[in-house]
């Protein structure tokens, strides 16, 4: 029996190289867990039928003496990342039977390593949401309390890690979609610097925010995956080299914009957060509680306006002509209407209309134009803050995972993203780490702490993450 509970990518590498267990043994152990749990948790939309064959190939490579960090490591992949020849649906009816015709660059890189793909994981349709409740294939349940959401949009990937149904996972993060479910499920999630990881082969939601990132049990594992998937890519003109941004000298100061949120948090969440900061002070970090960002208040509005605008543009391609679902009408216009109305879920349709609104003549300057200015202003404020602090810390989410169906009005769901969207608006990298648990209705539920670094500062995030581990 392999002890999956305590297994990490780092440990598994040693066991695989020492032949203590084979890649086939490891993959079989995960398949057995998935078999046991997936029906209830709904983390995977599909478990691939060739997992053991993939593992056999990895074993052959290991037998030949090859060793790569991810050779033979079983991974879960969010359902908006293309793997050639496999279905990829973005959890939408629109792409229910769509088969990818090429590999995303992140997948090409993982394939070279010999990583094993277990299956594709559930998400909010087209990565629009924050709870995986917007999937066309049912909600993903939180392993800590099955009446609660997993977070989202990468909910399936976070649950796969949290419930030992994969050793590592890929998610994508547009406004917090890696960090939010990581926080709700008690695992680690990284949103890299905009451009650090190629977007080629991701189903686009908001092209100027999207980044793929790892979801793992430990910071070391997130670092291992990030080191493999990052890098400039000819197929994504917005991808960048690691050395584009200058490294800043470490000052051992962490900034906390305390006044902007302390009043809005539940007492026990605030206590857990201030305890965490005290631990960091004992480790020799100075905490600057005075940080202020004047543009952080309109930031969420700016985020959503840009989100609506880009989503409505990116999703225009799903018209029943080029890909996926096609419902036949009397003429082309009727084809469009029928296909879009039946293929897209409620939230997606809502955002397409909001996008049409904020981009329409007469409103463009007031909404989209203004949002772009706020984004630029916020970025300046963060760059300025990073002159005096190394990292900025906040809770990842305002509270623990919500109950399924608890919030149905869209604005209160959007407000959940208040801490995470700034990293996407500014392009800065950010990580969510487990920050202990609090009790909700007799159940222990995980919280997350978020650290944000200046552009290109992933290493600083890994460093603080390793120090932070074991404090809580």
């Amino acid at each position: 029996m392999i002890d999956l509970e305590n297994l990490t990518i780092k440990k598994a590498r040693k066991f695989l190289d020492a032949k203590e267990f084979s890649a086939v043994d490891l993959a079989s152990a995960y398949l057995a867990e998935i078999e046991k749990k997936n029906k209830e948790l709904n983390a995977y939309l599909e478990v691939f039928d060739d997992v053991l064959e993939q593992a056999k190939v990895a074993d052959e490579r290991i037998a030949k003496g090859e060793s790569y960090p991810l050779l033979g490591i079983p991974l879960a992949v969010k359902d908006n990342i293309l793997i050639k020849g496999r279905k990829v649906s973005a959890a939408s009816k629109m792409l229910e039977n769509y088969v990818a015709s090429y590999d995303a660059t992140v997948i090409t890189k993982l394939k070279k390593q010999g990583a094993i793909f277990l299956g594709r994981t559930n998400m909010d349709e087209f990565a629009l949401g924050g709870s995986t409740e917007n999937s066309a294939y049912g909600v993903t349940r939180n392993p800590y309390d099955k009446n609660r959401v997993a977070g989202g949009t990468s909910g399936g990937s976070a649950v796969a890690i949290s419930a030992n149904m994969a050793l590592g996972a890929l998610g994508t993060d547009t406004g917090g979609s890696v960090r939010n479910p990581a926080s709700f499920c008690g695992v680690v999630g990284l949103k890299p610097t905009y451009g650090a990881v190629s977007r080629s082969g991701l189903i686009a939601a908001v092209s100027s925010f999207d980044q793929a990132g790892p979801i793992t049990k430990t910071v070391e594992d997130a670092e291992i995956i990030f080191n493999i998937i990052h890098g400039k890519d000819l197929l994504d003109s917005t991808s960048i080299n690691k050395d584009l941004y200058e490294k800043k000298r470490e000052k051992k100061i962490i900034g906390v914009p305390m006044s902007s949120f302390s009043g809005a948090l539940a007492q026990d969440v605030l206590k857990q957060f201030t305890d965490a900061l005290e631990h960091l002070e004992k480790q020799g970090y100075k905490i600057n509680y005075e940080l202020e960002f004047p543009s952080s208040k309109p930031a969420l509005s700016a985020y959503y306006i840009i989100n609506f605008a880009e989503v409505s543009t990116n999703l225009a391609r799903f018209d029943g002509v080029r890909y996926g679902l096609h419902i036949n009408g009397k003429n082309l216009l009727e084809d469009y209407l029928l296909t879009k109305s039946n293929g897209f879920g409620r939230e997606t349709r809502r955002r397409l209309m909001l996008g049409a609104y904020v981009l329409s003549a007469g409103y463009y300057d007031a909404y989209y134009g203004k949002a772009v200015l706020v984004r630029g202003q916020l970025r300046k404020e963060y760059l300025k803050a990073f002159e005096s602090v190394d990292l900025i810390a906040t809770p990842t989410m305002p509270d623990t995972a919500l109950k399924i169906g608890e919030k149905s009005d869209p604005v209160s769901l959007y407000l959940e993203d208040v801490f995470t969207v700034t990293a996407n608006l500014t392009g800065c990298p950010a990580i969510s780490l487990p920050m202990g648990t609090v009790l909700r209705e007799g159940k222990k539920l995980p919280l997350g702490i978020q650290f944000m670094a200046p552009h290109g500062g992933e290493e600083n995030l890994f460093e603080i993450g390793k120090k932070f581990k074991g404090m809580i």
């Binding site: 020849g85 769509y98 879009k340």
Partner: protein, 90 residues
């Protein structure tokens, strides 16, 4: 905002809505737009971007990529003789 606006936006987005859905969307959109509207009143200086700009165009040379014509055409909703089939638009 009224039902006519919702209908107009739906036709721009090429979405067909039932009467029930129109009503729900009207109230959703009013609350969402009511929230993001705070940005309208905001005074932001029209400052120049501080982003650095780089040339990302590659040289105009052929870089062979492995594409499967079959995999792509199989995904078309309608095909004829290896082409994507669409309805006539005129």
């Amino acid at each position: 905002m009224n039902i006519k606006d919702v209908e107009n936006l739906a036709s721009l987005a090429r979405i067909e809505l039932s009467e029930e859905e129109k009503k729900n969307l009207l109230s959703d959109m009013e609350s969402i737009l009511g929230y993001v509207k705070q940005i309208e009143e905001l005074k932001v200086e029209n400052a120049e971007s501080e982003c650095k700009v780089y040339n990302v165009w590659r040289e105009d040379e052929i870089i062979p990529r492995d594409f499967s014509r079959e995999l792509i055409t199989e995904q078309f909703p309608g095909t004829q003789d290896g082409f994507l089939k669409v309805k006539k638009i005129l």
